[in-house]
Every structure is written in structure tokens, then in C-alpha cells.
């Protein structure tokens, strides 16, 4: 009985989609009712005004750019920093997992650096790189790097030793074992890290833009605050949520495709 219920809850995609739509709808109605019928209306605008503002700004102008362009600026920074950071993080993490000496050297450093949130580096990044793109990319690099390394290390360490023996028995060299066994076997753990890394990178770019920038979603919110424009602030927040949500979905899809072998047959 219990088992049946559980199966129903986790496997039925349409039920999940319907539930999601209902929940979002209810939230919007509550927001609408709250702003239209209570004192909340004096503090924040209702959903219709915000959605209209987004609709107008999407291809129109908020400041000097359209909302699409602001999203593009933020995304560009994330993509560059995320790509470099996760590449370096995955490579270093796998090496740490595979070669004990690399772990012995780098792991203690990581245990100290990892708990520091990337935004704590904002002042240093500005002193080092100035106010331009480099400082922001550096921060996102840190966010992606620190979140992928330890997961990749855990992945490389947990490869089944029998599978490694099988590769040796079939004549694979040490280097071939690393590239053809350790790397693909670690892909599920690597993705667990990339998921955290992409959300952390997205959060970091907004923080960096809020400190200093002339475009991007982070700028949009801060500019809204400076002009006392509540609608612009909320438009920015809604867009941040939507883009973050889409990024997470893209990552999950990529994982699904690359880790098909890890799930039982369809």
C-alpha cells in the first residue's frame, strides 16, 4: 500500500506538472488578493503590474538595455566563470581522488577555502582586477571551482576497484584507466557538484553586479532601489528566479542524457 503511494508520487510526471501549476497559480492569486485587498498593497505592487513591467521591458528598455540584454550580460559572466571554474575544479578533483599525494596536498587547503562564500572575495577581487568584467568572472570562477572539486574527488575515489582491475586485465595503461574509467565513472558525482556550482555561480554574479556594475539583473535591482522603483526591483527578482530555474533544468537534462547508463532501463 505504502509502496504504491510512493511510486505514484515520484514517477507520474503529469501529476507533478499539474501540482506545480496549481501551486504557482495559488501563489499568484494570494499575491494578487494580498496587494488588492489588504495593506500589503501599500508596500509592494501586485503581480499584474510586475508581469506587465516585465512584458514591457523584455524587449523595451530598463535603464540602457532591455531585460533580455540584462539577462544576457549576467549569463555571459556566469558562463565564462562557470566554464573555467568547473573545468579546473573537475580536473583537480579527479586528480586528487586518483593520486593520494594530490589529495594530501590540496585537501587541507580546500577544507579551509570552501566554507568561505564567494562574495567574501568581492573586495579582494575589486582590488586585484578593478571594477570590470574580470573581477566578476573571478568570483564566479571561485564559486564553480570550490563546488566542483570535492565532489569530483569523491567520485574518483569511489570507483569500484574490481572495475579498475577489469580494465587492467584488459590491458589499459595507468593513463588510459584515468581517462576511460575514472573520468566516466565519476560523472554522476561531478554532476552533483555542477548542480550546486551553477546555482552558486548564479547567486554570485547577482551579488557582484549589485556591488558594482552598469548592466545585468543585479544592476536592475540596485538601480530600482536607488530610484525607489518597487516594480523594477520585483521584476528583477522574478527574472532571477526564472533564469535560475531554467539553468537548473538544463543541468538536470544534461545529467539525464550523460548518465543514462546509471538508471535502470526504460
Amino acid at each position: 500500500m505504502k509502496k504504491g503511494v510512493l511510486k505514484y508520487r515520484t514517477s507520474d510526471k503529469t501529476v507533478n506538472a499539474v501540482c506545480a501549476c496549481i501551486a504557482i497559480g495559488l501563489f499568484l492569486i494570494l499575491w494578487y488578493w494580498g496587494t488588492a485587498a489588504t495593506k500589503l498593497g501599500m508596500m509592494i505592487p501586485g503581480p499584474i503590474e510586475v508581469l506587465q513591467a516585465i512584458g514591457r521591458g523584455l524587449f523595451g528598455k530598463v535603464g540602457r538595455h532591455s531585460i533580455i540584454a540584462h539577462v544576457g550580460y549576467s549569463m555571459m559572466r556566469v558562463m565564462v566563470g562557470f566554464a573555467i571554474g568547473s573545468l579546473v575544479g573537475v580536473a583537480l578533483g579527479l586528480l586528487m581522488g586518483w593520486y593520494g599525494i594530490a589529495e594530501a596536498i590540496f585537501n587541507p587547503l580546500f577544507r579551509i577555502i570552501r566554507p568561505i562564500p564567494p562574495i567574501a572575495w568581492i573586495p579582494i577581487s575589486i582590488i586585484w582586477f578593478g571594477l570590470g568584467e574580470d573581477a566578476k568572472i573571478f568570483l564566479i570562477f571561485l564559486a564553480a571551482f570550490s563546488n566542483t572539486t570535492l565532489n569530483s574527488m569523491a567520485g574518483a575515489k569511489s570507483v569500484d576497484p574490481e572495475v579498475i582491475n577489469a580494465a587492467k586485465m584488459l590491458g589499459a595503461s595507468e593513463r588510459q584507466i584515468f581517462t576511460t574509467i575514472v573520468l566516466p565513472a565519476s560523472v554522476p558525482s561531478i554532476f552533483a557538484g555542477l548542480q550546486v556550482a551553477i546555482s552558486s555561480s548564479w547567486a554570485t554574479v547577482l551579488a557582484a553586479e549589485m556591488v558594482r556594475s552598469s548592466e545585468g539583473l543585479g544592476w536592475m535591482i540596485v538601480a530600482g532601489m536607488n530610484n525607489n522603483d518597487m516594480i523594477q526591483i520585483l521584476s528583477g527578482i522574478v527574472m532571477i528566479g526564472i533564469v535560475g530555474f531554467i539553468l537548473a533544468i538544463i543541468m538536470r537534462k544534461a545529467e539525464e542524457v550523460l548518465c543514462r547508463w546509471n538508471k535502470s532501463g526504460e
Partner: protein, 259 residues
């Protein structure tokens, strides 16, 4: 026995003399293999028959070269075994397939590592996929296959490197009885088609008697050879012939007294 030794000197592929293996554990040295002697001859089907946890996998790991002996001498074609080699194929108790590779990917892996060109290696891999009866499943991942099919992939993968010796560690131990019988017949067919020296580990007496040219009965841990049986019943074997049943009774008796 003296005749056996003569044959051994002629064409012994694996020679194992006084091999010992112990592991360091928190409680001290744990001896798993003690004074183990065996000689495997060309194209012989040799079965190591021993009780659970007696050190069978450890013995296979030593012959494969995954582990080093603690004492004695273990030779493959006259040379001390120091590391794994494609000429000694292994079929694992746990299958140890590469789960992110398809059937084809698994079977062609050894050739790919050796730098054989794609077209050539896929042709050769296909040959062994057909031999183990997996045509049509070339693109399936291990999770999509049944237990018996996974072991077929494991057998094809080891065969594809054309090893001199096949080491099989309870390959059918995790299968249900019906599939297990089927796989025993299949393995016999494959071995008849592609003769190799096989060292096959099992704790199932019928499986041992069905497949073996020769059975070495092992003692409980530390493992050593307790007794040798040469099985010259005609193949394929009749599981209910009087000779089969008599041997089965005798060997089972011996096993029980070692427990």
C-alpha cells in the same frame, strides 16, 4: 600422480608451487592461501571447488596478477606473475562490467586500449558478441540486461582479447537455478568452439562436474588443494548418469569433512 606431473611438464601454462597469501588485518596476519600447488595444462578445463569464503577469489586474484603472493612461486608460461595481463582474461564474480559502456563498448574495450582500429575491433568484438548469443543487444547498457546476459558480456569481453587463460570466478553464482543451468551449457558450447585453458571457481558440485576436465577440491580457509579428481565422463554430461551421481556423492562427502 607421476603421470600427471609428466603431462604438466609438457605443457603447463599456469604453475603454482607452494603459494601462500596472507593479509594484514587489525587482528594480525590472516592467512588465506597455504601451500597451494596447481598446474593448468593447455586447453584444460580446471575447476577449483571449495566452500564459501575459503579463499577462491584470492587465488584467482593472484593468478590474474591483481595481488602478489606472500610466498612460493606462481608462473604463467614459465614467467613469474607480477601484474595483470591481457593474456590472462578474468570473468568476475561481480561481473565488473563498465556500466557507462554498451555491450559493444565493453567487449571492444581491450582491443581499443591496444590501439586496434575501430572497424577492425568492432568486427572482432561482434564475433564474440555473436558467440555468446548477444546479437541484438550491442547497444544495451549493462543495467538494461538480465544477470545472465551481463555474465555473457563479461565472458565475451574477456574472450575478445584472445587470452591464453580464462579465469572465471563463480561467474554464475548470482544467477537463479534455471539461468545457471542454461549458462553452464552455453559456457561448455563456447569453450568447445574457442578452446582455452580455463580455471573456473565454484562452490556448486553439479556445476563443477558438468564442466570440469579436472576438479581440485579445496580445504576451508586457509585454502590448499585437498584432493584432485580427473573427470573423463563424455560431454555433454548427463547429470543423472550413475557415474555422475557416484562422483557427486564422493566429492560432496569429502567437502563436508573439510568443513
Amino acid at each position: 600422480m607421476s603421470m600427471e606431473q609428466e603431462r604438466g611438464i609438457e605443457s603447463s601454462i599456469i604453475e603454482c608451487a607452494g603459494v601462500c597469501k596472507s593479509f594484514k588485518t587489525p587482528e594480525g596476519e590472516h592467512q588465506v592461501i597455504k601451500d597451494f600447488n596447481l598446474q593448468a595444462k593447455e586447453n584444460e578445463f580446471l575447476v577449483l571447488f571449495g566452500p564459501g569464503q575459503c579463499g577462491k577469489t584470492t587465488m584467482i586474484n593472484l593468478i590474474a596478477g591483481f595481488e602478489k603472493v606472500s610466498g612460493g612461486s606462481l608462473k604463467f608460461m614459465g614467467k613469474e606473475i607480477t601484474k595483470p595481463d591481457p593474456s590472462r582474461g578474468v570473468v568476475f564474480q561481480s561481473t565488473a562490467l563498465f556500466p557507462w559502456m554498451t555491450t559493444m563498448g565493453n567487449v571492444e574495450y581491450g582491443l581499443k586500449m591496444a590501439g586496434v582500429k575501430k572497424e577492425e575491433r568492432q568486427k572482432r568484438a561482434q564475433n564474440y558478441i555473436d558467440l555468446v548469443g548477444l546479437q541484438g543487444f550491442e547497444k544495451s547498457y549493462p543495467v538494461q540486461l538480465s544477470g545472465g546476459m551481463r555474465q555473457r558480456v563479461g565472458i565475451a569481453r574477456a574472450y575478445c582479447n584472445e587470452p591464453k587463460v580464462m579465469l572465471m570466478d563463480e561467474p554464475f553464482g548470482a544467477l537463479d537455478a534455471q539461468t545457471r543451468y542454461l549458462m553452464q551449457e552455453e559456457l561448455q558450447r563456447i569453450w568447445e568452439a574457442e578452446k582455452r585453458t580455463v580455471i573456473f571457481v565454484t562452490n556448486n558440485i553439479e556445476e563443477a562436474l558438468y564442466l570440469a576436465d579436472r576438479i581440485l577440491v579445496l580445504t576451508n580457509c586457509p585454502a590448499t588443494v585437498k584432493k584432485e579428481y580427473i573427470i573423463d565422463l563424455p560431454r555433454p554430461r548427463n547429470l543423472v548418469s550413475p557415474e555422475f551421481l557416484a562422483l557427486r556423492k564422493e566429492i560432496t562427502g569429502i567437502m563436508d569433512s573439510t568443513l
